[in-house]
Symmetry: D2
Subunit: 308 residues, 4 copies
């Protein structure tokens, strides 16, 4: 329906082994699964990638592996964590640039203790970080920060920086989202966080959606894009409805903390691995309920359950 | 894409004249405009129809006129007001049945002073009201009430009452909305309040959306349904994008209170009329800004501005 | 510590008999209990008095009985319900004036469907109502309305109307409350809703607090005022601590809806009576737990439990 | 009124010089001012001390200086920052123990991206940190974290760890606060964050309050405690009323971010110093308004304004 490149983005998990070490073979295996499904991939994010629990060395390793496995096949991007200080984000985008990813996200500033940055502080923050790298950058405007990026600031930055190429929006304010798309769809790539606003974004002329559900079912995630592009509304309803049901299940069991998703991956014999503290996996009782709920969705690509 | 009847519902204004009396000729003229556009119509609602400010006699008159002008051409329904007591709603649905509308809405119980009804109280409330009429009824599950109808209660009522035929959902919880549609799309007619969740509802297999924007631009509202049905995605983007922009403008100037919408209708030479207290129209300065913003949308069906 | 008259205000229940009729003897008995404890009394309120469920005739009767039992002994006031329209409140204050109460409350306007009045609408509302009566009036600024009265509007009204004599504040914004008291303590009587902000009000120079807990334990409520006035901090801690614990128990079981409080009164052999729909009493299991929790507080004035 | 030691706690600023370096002489001068007023002091906190912007070396220096200036004269404590990981807090309490402060705070875990820790994760977190030090620790239960510490978890930890000696509560839930005090006032030292709940805490038998206002007016802060202890209610009303007014002014101009408070200190010729990024000071226009508002409070201890 347009020349625009639509895409589904998956925020990849970071598998750890039983000793809590980065499990490189499992990570590579997992990335291949995403690549084969054709989804775009974010790595090293604060939520679904346990980014806060990675040492700087591990983070570099994660980025390097992702580039090796994905670069040139599907877009590979560095997501990062909400920084307390601008310098943390500068360090991150430079690390991402060295690794050779296709783009890095600049997360909202989280200055801690419930306080929010002023407009002047936001302007200084984004300018400092974008100036520090030649990598294409994608800004996050997410409700978890407690504020959204003012649309006029986005416009200012879009005019100032050609390397500012996209926005990830997470929230429930559809006035904001629709105005974001109306104003910037010809200039920026726009995705929403989670699948819930996917139709809103796609119909209004944005680029797609992102989420962690694709760690379990990347083909299902990708099929939302392909059925939309094909204009096959009944197949779209089927795919997207199933994805929303999966989203609701994962949300009930830990959401982006992966308390449920990692044990679930393991239960299906897929590379999930262990969680790092402070996160603790859901109980076996909850895991059984989660598996049962997922099986009822009849997601074609899932292998047999290997446990329970 | 299915046999389902899709529809856009407009919550009609109630025009009053300069002495504050119900303006029947203006109301009839307005309803004809809605009818000609092919939208379905709700009348006597608490928000956009100033339902609280109507006397019982006026409410009866409003329903009678709506039936005369619309019945048999487009669906005509009685919306009503959030009741403090079940008996208020019983009285309303009986009045609606006498008038001969196609259906009545049962609004959420608003027991006042910030308190919320319990599940037992809700069950008793809905049973009492549905038992009191043979008219088809549509339940409202709207965030303004401070709670949503529990899905299991909806299921219980749907099994118990064949006359329970639809749900109007107003809110931002897309988990709730998607589960509502997944569970009840084959049993109930499902619309969302306002155009913002329209694509979510339509793609998932609900019936459409409702709102007050159609008082100004009923053809625009209807075109969202017709372009979706035709599968014309570019035309849909254009229509729906314009409607969302109009929605944002109206929201900025009084929203469903009509503080802005009635003066705006008058400015375009359309039958708007005056507001009843406690509502007071926006200032002339604000109205000028509102007119200017609307004109920038280039809504084809709008007549010339007759004032300013 | 000052010449100011401090007071605890109890929002009285309205007892109904087993057939759901206003139980006048029980109501008189209950009012005598409040009077003997020395608390001030509000009647016919939307929350704890089930004001919405009273017919206009019953409301008049309630006010008349309250005046007969209390006038001249303790202050007796008419609380009323949040109105949808200014005319509802005009009607109420006139009814209160005819009954001869000492003052009437003007509740916040609740225009329905989640909308809030503008400043101009508030000014018009309060002016209309205060102009309609010569009775002293007390304004409510309560979070349940979704907004607080702007302090500058309070100042305007205080300058314009000598009959505007007090403010009841319900909420958790202690900046608002402390500024309210600092600006108006020499001009208006100021009480907070519920006992939780009682020390804040009393120390800053307001007049006291109100609530429904005094329906069960009026002497306990009054002792918070008397121990504060006596400067007996240890006795104050004991009284107020006990009242806060009682408040937490009542809140857990229905709060101002009386779903728990009326059955509890009956359990202690005190005049509680039945609830009117839509309210439904808590279950027997919950009532047992509620009784047990209250007994642990060892409230001296309570009689033996007559049931269970 | 009891044997309990009441106290006002000031969260000290960290002065930086014009080159952004830790300004040790200014810091010492500031601490002496606090010490002379007799308040207790927290240093290196995330909000008012710009703790996130300190390097580990600077943080050690800050703690060492505070111990040198205050230890043995007034209580000196290490506040710290909300950690993403338990290991960050372990590192902090060990650093605090090495420095020789009287106690360290264990801040709530902020796991990032809007997610909240589970009960199991909280238990593991607190156990891990308290086990890592022999220093007395004080737990924070603050709304900025998005959750409060469950009272039953506090009880478990209080039974398990004799070194767990206090709670700092920040929030508006007076049910929580009153139950916290009722259950733990004989076992734990309890302060509220900010002066707004001070009377509630003091009357119920807690220990006092904390805040950043004392950086400007430590004698005023301390006088709230001393007038309460003396039972001088009129003097208490005067002191506390003034402190609440100051609190409202500081909140309007940056609150705990010090965007306003540091420039204000400088304006009075007191050691404030510069802010570190991402924080940017308020404009000169705002500073003028802030100074004017503070001067109207007539705080006796403040020196002449040296600027403007």
């Amino acid at each position: 329906m347009s020349n625009k490149k639509l895409s589904a983005l998956v925020i990849s998990i970071t598998p750890f082994d039983d000793q809590g070490r980065l499990d490189e073979p499992a990570f590579r295996k997992h990335l291949k699964r995403l690549r084969d499904a054709g989804v775009s991939v974010w790595v090293a994010g604060s939520g679904s990638s346990e980014g806060y629990a990675l040492t700087p060395e591990e983070r570099e390793r994660v980025l390097a592996i992702a580039v090796e496995e994905l670069k040139g096949r599907v877009p590979v991007r560095a997501m990062g964590c909400e920084p307390r200080l601008p310098s943390h984000m500068v360090e991150f985008v430079r690390c991402a640039e060295r690794a050779g990813v296709d783009a890095a996200q600049i997360f909202s500033l989280d200055i801690g203790h419930g306080a929010k940055p002023t407009l002047a502080e936001l302007d200084r923050y984004y300018s400092t970080v974008i100036d520090a790298t030649s990598l294409p950058v994608v800004l996050s405007s997410h409700h978890a920060a407690g504020y959204y990026l003012p649309l006029d600031l986005i416009e200012t930055l879009a005019q100032r920086y050609p390397t500012f190429t996209g926005i990830n929006y997470g929230g429930t304010d559809l006035h904001y989202l629709s105005q974001l798309i109306a104003r910037f769809r010809d200039r920026l790539e726009i995705h929403c966080a989670g699948p819930r606003n996917a139709m809103t974004v796609l119909v209004l002329g944005g680029n797609g959606f992102m989420g962690h559900e694709g760690n379990l079912a990347p083909q299902l995630v990708q099929s939302v894009i392909s059925t939309f592009e094909a204009g096959d509304m009944l197949a779209l309803r089927e795919s997207w409805g199933k994805l929303l049901a999966l989203d609701a299940i994962v949300k009930r069991y830990g959401g982006s903390t992966l308390r449920g998703l990692k044990p679930l991956l393991n239960a299906f014999g897929l590379p999930g691995g262990t969680l790092r503290l402070p996160r603790i996996a859901i109980s076996d009782v909850d895991l059984d309920a989660m598996i049962k709920a997922v099986l009822q969705l009849r997601i074609a690509e899932l292998p047999e359950v290997v446990r329970r």
